[in-house]
């Protein structure tokens, strides 16, 4: 049967990809942020997942505002990156696992998560950058990857509680797949940041650290906040932090915390890395 080894969280902002592409990761500005990924990279090398499910939000590459699915799952064998308007060279395509994805979709819908299935899905920086930060950049990626997109761009966006429940449903879905697949979940985005308005530049370190701690040990805590309250505390784009709860919900309640890293600022953002491991 498929097994969830654990989960990792990561920021996914474009500046992370640019820093990697431009070899800036050891510059003073970036060094502490990227060095804190070391233990997460080592953990992935040790447990060697066959496939990662990347929970992220699309920023207007695959989905336009004509149709905005709240939750959308890639159900293809291959996912391509593409120009997001900045003229950057796309990274190599990612191999998926269509049979596994369709099983996940069936199971999620049975559990009343009526997810949008996508047979073609362009993956943007939200998906690509966490993989690059955790595996480096490759012409042939060392792991398969499945995109799970959450709408955090156009409100109404799902509640924190709903994201946690999606994670729990995802756990059942994964663990009912007959093949012996080793799976890791990436919860991406966040932590606090606001790009727009007079409040742009907001970083709330206190709230970020509380989120890191509580998502690791007491994720229900986050579900007491409305999205308006999360945006007030973490900024409008900080709402992405709800995607960490999908990862956390997919793990065992008592999953072990392996690594905890926080840095601010990277660009406009407070950034956190968690590595959590399920008991075998």
């Amino acid at each position: 049967m498929a097994r969830i080894l654990g989960g990792v969280t990561s920021s996914h902002i474009p500046a992370v990809g640019n820093a990697i592409a431009n070899n800036l990761t050891q510059e003073h500005y970036w060094k502490r942020f990227f060095d804190g990924y070391g233990p997460a990279q080592e953990w992935l090398q040790k447990v060697k997942p066959d496939i990662v499910i990347v929970v992220y939000n699309d920023h207007g590459l695959n989905f336009f505002l004509d149709k905005v699915p709240t939750f959308a799952l890639g159900c293809a064998d291959m996912y391509h990156n593409a120009d997001e308007g900045w003229g950057l060279k796309p990274v190599a395509p990612f191999q998926g696992d269509a049979e596994f994805s369709w099983h996940l979709a069936e199971s999620l819908v049975e559990q009343e998560f009526d997810i949008c299935t996508c047979q073609e899905m362009l993956v943007d920086h939200g998906f690509v950058n966490p993989i690059r930060a955790l595996y480096g950049t490759h012409e042939k990626w060392p792991v398969k990857a499945i995109p799970l997109a959450v709408n955090t761009v156009q409100h109404p966006v799902p509640t924190a509680a709903r994201c946690l429940k999606l994670g729990r449903a995802l756990r059942k879905a994964i663990e009912s797949y007959p093949e012996d697949l080793k799976v890791v979940i990436f919860g991406t985005g966040g932590l606090s940041h606001q790009l727009q308005g007079e409040r742009a530049g907001l970083i709330n370190i206190e709230f970020d650290l509380e989120c890191v701690e509580k998502i690791a040990h007491e994720p229900e805590w986050m579900t007491k906040f409305t999205n308006a309250e999360i945006m007030e505390l973490a900024g409008t784009e900080g709402i992405e932090t709800i995607m960490w709860l999908v990862m956390r919900g997919a793990l065992q309640d008592d999953a072990k915390l392996i690594h905890k890293h926080y840095h601010a600022p990277i660009s406009n953002t407070g950034a956190g890395v968690l590595v959590m491991e399920n008991a075998a």
Binding site: G85, G87, Q154, R199, I203, I205, A264
Partner: protein, 133 residues
Amino acid sequence: MVWKKHSYEDIPGTYVFDGKHAHGAYPINKLLFSFNTEECRDEFDRDPAAYCDKFGVTGKYKEAIIKKDFLGMLRMGANIYYMAKMAIPRGTSVQDAGAAFQGITTEEFQAKLLAKRDGLEERLAKEGGYWNG
């Protein structure tokens, strides 16, 4: 017909991208989305006004696009991520936009952000359990 009031509208200096903004600014966001394609970016550059007409972007929206008034566009409901597709290749970063919103220079805006790092490692050491180099 009425747009329901939301509690997030009371957050100062904040424009939450919801149905009201998405509805009103649909043509401008559709135009900005097209910039994912290089041919569209080139077509816009050749004749911005004609490109606006093609997408039904009119009035103050059209004026803001042609003037590359990114701040004005954001205030009118352009989505920040969509606007970035136009602004970033033209040398306006999201930090430039943030600084403009606050009426300060980009250097001042970046300095305010960098100040967040002051004492961070000590703070994390006190918190306990964090990687700290």
